[in-house]
Amino acid sequence: MDQISNRIMSNNIVELIMRSQRGEVDSFGSLVNIYQSKVLGLCLKLTGNRSDAEDLAQEVFLKSFRSLKGFRLEADFGTWLHRITVNMYLNYKKKNSKVTIFYIDDPVKTDTGEINREILDESADPSQEIEEKEDRNVIKQALDSLSPEHKAVLVLREIEGYSYEEIAQITQSSLGTVKSRMNRARQALKEKILQTGMTKAGKGGEI
């Protein structure tokens, strides 16, 4: 039953993609509706804050519409969108390496008064101890301070659950690169966590 509905679903998607490739905007609109959460989700994890994530997601869909002709139907559309997402995120970070990015834990001060919503959903487990929350915040902060490349592989693996093979496709690198990058990313993350933890402990005279 599930398989059948899956197949119908994927047939529908293939049809929507083909129509979109022919320039049918309404079909692309349907694809956007299907994939917007998936794309936005990854954008959130990469950028660390909602408003940047929404802007990035918009650019990803625009870009994908423009390059839709190059999409091979046998590939997975969601993965393809994620590839564009990672690409644009990395390029953006490269171009704007001097720009300070606001992360989720710092409330953003803007003239627009726009809310920087908290995206780390800690309400998931109501019994969570404060200590655990602290730990998570430290990890989140450390993750956000990693280089974009390290952050990307960690997010793709740990949060999105992609395999190395898929990550290699998404980041357009070799399997060997993914392996070693993943290891270096974890090493760097651990070091950042130690640093952050220590700074916090050093600063926090309060109990």
Partner: protein, 347 residues
Amino acid sequence: MTRKYTVGNKSCFEVRELFSPWLDGEITPEDANILEKHIQSCPPCKTELESWQSISHSLQGFTYSADPPPGFAAQLMNRIITEQKPEKYGFIKTWHKTIAAAAAVILFAGSVGIANNFMPEKKNNNIVMKSNRTAQTAVVDNNKKHAEPEAHLNTSANNRPDTANDSKSDAVAPDAAVPETAAPDNPKAEARVVVAQEFALFDNEITIKSTLLKLSSDDPIGTIAKAAAKTNGSGAVSQIISAQNTGGKEVSITSITVPEAASAELMNYFMSLGPVIDKSDEAKDITYRYKEALARQQELASLINNSQAENASYRTEFDSLSKQLQEWREQATKHTIILWIEKGQGN
């Protein structure tokens, strides 16, 4: 720092290269064997691996709520259509389809974005189709609604910066001039903040309702004029999204935001104007997001009130949450009708 001593045939450095593949289940059985043996006789590596593992678990536990904001898809489709338009003459042929797409997407995305994105105060270039080929120009007088205080409130409450106005905006550079008004409080006027009581009072759920109503008419211009007259007398805000004439077929789409109490009457009136081709309702439930914002606001209030030091960023966030909550409350009392009128074949 990785130590250089060797246990078995492999150095710690080499073994640690296997940590990630092992954690990720991407390791060969031989390598797994090497690693596990090494760990048994090397406490530092064991500790290191354990810490990696625990970080990994924490990361996997991260959850993100990736609800697209209302109007996300509509805004995007606007940009795509606007971008496509000048490119090809052949595009005119698919004009109707794109209008349908725009309307469908707008509806799908919920009505929240509509009032915001199509407000005439903002540059009109985010309106999907504004064309010289238009047979009928905007009949609804947008300026009239400025007389309505309610309309004005709605206008000022802006959910998202309108990046549709600037299709070349950088990927990660929120930049917007959101009109100020809705929040009555002046942040610097007083030191203490209070969560407005009415925010906490709401019915079981907050939904934002919209309806797509398609009519056929022999005389679309006349029908639009009638609809407009009625709209202006009912405290509603209306905005022509598009008006188009191609190949003898005219379609015009108007978005009308009306107080919930008046929506049924207005809807009935619209339906009396011509044969109904299609009518579909949508309700978007934002209760969860509302409650989340409310809880955060209460938390901020206590942070601000209980701390000696002035914290401007808390205050900014508090004020923007007030605005957001206010806006949602207002929108929840309203109903958006997307009125689609197409020229009938003399029905």
